[in-house]
């Protein structure tokens, strides 16, 4: 299953790209509209890119009124990324989205590096949202801290799945001015630099919980997708690669099919967790 990473695709400007995925994940929606951070907001580095968009979005009310009806017409399952600045805010958004049949899954953005975070713990936010909706809840986590413990905590709080990983804080300097090009200095690092990070995060969480995992971070090829499946992801999301190539989903899909076949897997599901099995087999 192939998705986009939240914030890496707008289905209204690129509906065909959204339809080339197995599910479309929205940019994070917060209760109130947000203009986002001042420019400059993005910069390339030698190993990825840094962004400081700052959760620019129309706010929940406009999203429900204007965006959900249009997104429902896409014809692909709709995942809504939910953000907030307190557990109550997250829960209120989940309750409002719970009534929308077009919304299939809620992904809680618990790890945006470009805004101040809610004071409550990830598990407290998940628990509040769990009480507000019966829709599947995915907790999107960053690869920081004790991820195994965090994964177990959000699983115990009622999460149905994990999205791993969000960006990591990063900074780059302009080659001439030696100043950070981003107006806020620090941003979120994405792209190829994240691949070993996302592999490690999925590896750890696969061992810590039984929750299904959407793996993302540095996926640019079918080989990258195969590796995420092998460490335990059940689905894979494309992020930064979509910026460079809106046709990446079709290419990654074709490459993954070839990789699966080359490694003797009949279906993607057969590859899920294969790396763990092989480590076990080798140690027997």
């Amino acid at each position: 299953m192939l998705l986009n990473a939240s914030g890496c695709l707008d289905a209204s400007t690129a509906p065909d790209v959204a339809r080339s995925l197995d599910a479309f994940v929205t940019k994070t929606v917060t209760p109130l509209p947000r203009e986002g951070n001042p420019p400059v907001r993005i910069a390339e580095t030698e190993v990825g890119m840094v962004n400081s968009i700052g959760l620019a979005n129309p706010g929940l009310e406009a999203f429900l009124a204007d965006h959900v009806p249009r997104l429902a017409e896409l014809g692909v399952p709709l995942w809504v990324s939910v953000g907030g600045f307190s557990a109550d805010e997250y829960a209120a958004s989940c309750a409002a989205l719970d009534a929308r049949a077009a919304v299939t899954t809620l992904e809680l953005n618990l790890s945006c590096p470009n805004v101040d975070e809610a004071p409550e713990s990830a598990a407290q936010i998940v628990a509040a949202c769990r009480a507000a909706t019966t829709k599947p809840l995915y907790a999107k986590l960053a690869a920081t801290g004790d991820l195994a413990e965090l994964a177990r905590a959000v699983a115990d709080a009622g999460a149905d799945g994990l999205s791993l990983v969000n960006t990591l804080r990063g900074l780059t300097l302009d080659e001439r001015s030696l100043r950070p090009p981003l107006a806020r200095g620090v941003g979120g690092l994405s792209g190829p630099a994240l691949k070993p990070v996302s592999l490690a995060a999925v590896w750890v969480c696969r061992r810590a919980t039984a929750l299904p995992i959407v793996g993302m971070g540095g996926v640019a090829s079918g080989r990258d997708a195969l590796e995420l499946l092998a460490v335990g992801a059940h689905a894979v999301a494309l992020g930064t690669v979509l910026f460079a190539d809106p046709h990446a989903p079709a290419r990654v899909r074709a490459e993954l099919a070839a990789e699966l076949s080359a490694h003797g897997f009949a279906a993607p599901a057969d590859a899920v967790g294969a790396a763990h099995d092989r480590v076990l087999a080798a140690s027997v």
Partner: protein, 225 residues
């Protein structure tokens, strides 16, 4: 929304125009679009493509005028005939060409979209400003151009005639801001760092007249309020 077309194109030539490079590629199945629209060019060895407005559209070709200011533009200028690169476009909103008394205004590498625009408008008069004689060699690409060099700015010859014309301008932000003062209603082509060019990344959002716009979707050409 128009279909996003991306294709691997072959480099035909890279010509020096003063300090700039005119990158000429085979057109493939891509269309040149309207003047002021842009393409995302993927430099070899870089993660992200770079937005470039179309400079010229000779039959079967697309040509881009590029200033090598960083690693991406340097890699584009270092391409050689026979090399290939991925190109996505045309993208964004270009200039409206249904104007009665056009006057083109350009500053520095902002002349890039003007040659193609001049063709579409029947070679109207143009005012171009450059940092030096060397940079001003790019003026040869624009017909009927009057050139000023720093410390003179294009706003000086523009001021007395601005309100008698439909101004279409591209250049650095301070120039566009000054043109906007002299010529309310001018069509201005803005620039911002851009990761995707098709509305996905929100990197190119700029605040104009109190609201935020993604330049790649709502621009890059915007009408001054």
């Amino acid at each position: 929304m128009p279909e996003l077309r991306r294709e691997r194109l072959r480099v035909l030539a890279v010509e020096q125009v003063g300090p700039y490079s005119l990158l000429r590629v085979s057109r493939g199945m891509l269309t040149p679009g309207r003047p002021g629209q842009f393409f995302m060019l993927s430099p070899p060895g870089r993660l992200l493509p770079r937005p470039m407005s179309l400079c010229l559209a000779p039959p079967g070709e697309l040509a881009f005028l590029i200033d090598a200011v960083g690693p991406g533009t340097r890699a584009l200028c270092a391409l050689a005939p026979g090399n290939t690169l991925d190109v996505l476009g045309p993208l964004g909103n270009g200039f409206r060409v249904d104007v009665r008394r056009p006057l083109l205004v350009g500053g520095g590498i902002g002349v890039a979209p003007l040659p193609y625009l001049a063709e579409a408008l029947g070679r109207p008069p143009a005012l171009l400003g450059f940092r030096s004689e060397h940079h001003a060699q790019a003026a040869a690409l624009v017909p009927n151009a009057e050139v000023v060099l720093e410390p003179t700015y294009v706003t000086e010859p523009l001021a007395p005639v601005a309100r008698r014309h439909d101004v279409l301008a591209c250049g650095p932000e301070p120039m566009l801001a000054a043109v906007r003062e002299l010529a309310p209603g001018a069509q201005l082509a803005w620039e911002a760092p851009m990761a995707c060019g098709y509305g996905a990344c929100y990197g190119c959002a700029v605040e104009l007249d109190g609201s935020w716009k993604r330049l790649c979707v709502e621009g890059p050409v915007l009408v001054a309020a």
